[in-house]
């Protein structure tokens, strides 16, 4: 994308019918570190890469609990994400107070999307530079939504955003039909997808955060030991993704060299983690 004379403010259309500021905001999302979401009929798992900027600092918080039944993972300008999380928490808590019942996820994302849309139509505002993966449970089941700076939102079975998310998406596209209700398998799939975005780097619990919400299970972030134990568990099995009960054919390699721009696929060598 190159600079042009129609990209200075969000209230200027380009002759091709584009709002460049909004598209630039979506670029900010692509530059953020990866966040992944996947769901089964009863659970939603959110996972993200959490790299600290230096050894001395802590990592940025990228997963937020919004309510017992909803959580979000963000990618992009984390400050914008934090502010939006506060808005989401507020909406949920106000609804609970008035109706003593959980806000349906679908309604929350519409409210969030409408809020984002406002910023695309005011000359004194800028679009939020953060993409949100909203995962939650309500009466109609488990849901995963992606909210975009443009004010659009989509429901997904599985999705990934942020840098090198394409690798994760490729993995998820292969696996999503097999997302069983088995919560452990869902977490493992999330970890595998997360590993795809690391491009050969070793996946440890210190650089990732996993959170889950499900039927009878409030949204919570898994603690480091649990995550490391899960990582170790699938490493012992080998590089292959765990054998799904549905016995999906793609057992041989954990990552087909899908997208050309990802460089080294991690199937090179049986145990890249041991390097």
């Amino acid at each position: 994308m190159f600079r042009n004379q129609y990209d200075t403010d969000v209230t200027t259309w380009s002759p091709a019918g584009r709002l460049f500021q909004v598209e630039y905001a979506m670029e900010a999302v692509k530059q953020g570190s990866a966040a992944i979401g996947l769901r089964s009929k009863t659970h939603v798992v959110l996972a993200c890469v959490n790299k600290a900027s230096s050894e001395l600092s802590s990592h940025q918080k990228k997963i937020f609990k919004v309510d017992d039944h909803i959580g979000v993972a963000i990618a992009g300008l984390t400050a914008d994400g934090r502010v939006l999380s506060r808005y989401l928490r507020n909406e949920c808590i106000n609804y609970s107070y008035t109706y003593e019942s959980s806000l349906p996820v679908g309604r929350l994302v519409v409210q969030l999307a409408d809020k984002a849309q406002v910023c695309t139509q005011r000359s004194w505002k800028r679009p939020y530079g953060v993409g949100l993966l909203v995962g939650g449970l309500d009466e109609s089941g488990a849901h995963l939504y992606y909210n975009c700076p443009s004010g659009n939102y989509f429901e997904y079975q599985a999705f990934a955003i942020g840098s090198r998310s394409q690798a994760a998406k490729t993995y998820l596209e292969r696996k999503f039909e097999g997302f069983m209700d088995a919560r452990e398998d869902l977490i493992k799939d999330a970890l595998f997808a997360l590993r795809e975005t690391l491009q050969g780097e070793k996946l440890t619990s210190s650089i990732c955060t996993i959170a889950i919400v499900g039927v009878g299970e409030a949204f919570h972030i898994l603690d480091q030991e649990t995550v490391q134990a899960l990582i170790d568990e699938f490493e012992i099995v080998g590089e292959e993704p765990p054998a799904d009960e549905a016995a999906t054919p793609d057992q041989s390699s954990d990552a087909e060299p899908g997208p050309a721009d990802q460089g080294t696929p991690s199937d090179q060598g049986a145990t890249p983690m041991d390097i």
Partner: protein, 245 residues
Amino acid sequence: MNLADSTPAMNSLLGSEADSQRTLYPYVTGTSVVGIKYKDGILLAADMGGSYGSTLRYKTVERLKPVGKHSIIGASGEISDFQEIMRYLDELILYDNMWDDGNSLGPKEVHNYLTRVMYNRRNKFNPLWNSLVLGGVKNGQKYLGTVNMIGVHYEDNHVATGFGNHLARPILRDEWHENLTFEEGVKLLEKCMRVLLYRDRSAVNKLQIAKITEAGVTISQPYSLKTFWDFSAFKNPTVGAEGSW
């Protein structure tokens, strides 16, 4: 959800400025509402009287109304405040339907919304002078609750307002059980309403029974209860009372 906050009734914010804007006493009132859970859902009963003080002025007041797909409401107390509550609820349900997303407010949500409305009004010293019964069924779950003008709210297997608490609930405590059939439920409610008719001066002999199940709401046509006044104690009430005539 925020839309209800901007409805006309909220100009009662002026209540603190001039007493002429506050509720001081009720004018046209309805008497008891009785509600029970039964096997398939909820049954509510209320007579159709609107009293103007001690005068039984209006005799075809519908005090039971459906709310959305899953609930029914019964009101006692000031009828005009009930009409206002129905406007709030109709707006609430309208906005709920406008989401058009497969989610809908169930009886629990409506009850809690009403509780918030009633309590907030009470805090402004401008109450909606009603005692409400809210019942419904959603996804197989039965719900029956009540809330009154000061914001006191609770749920139970059987609830009543006003005199119904004193006359009907003791009967229900003895005779209510899970898995009443529809016929048994109606008989039980009629027993309660008959006692109320005998003993409550603001009761009129014209009532409706409302039923709500997973399938939907039905409110019966108005009908009357058979009464018996031939008790010797009524014919000779002062027999045995020294000094009476």
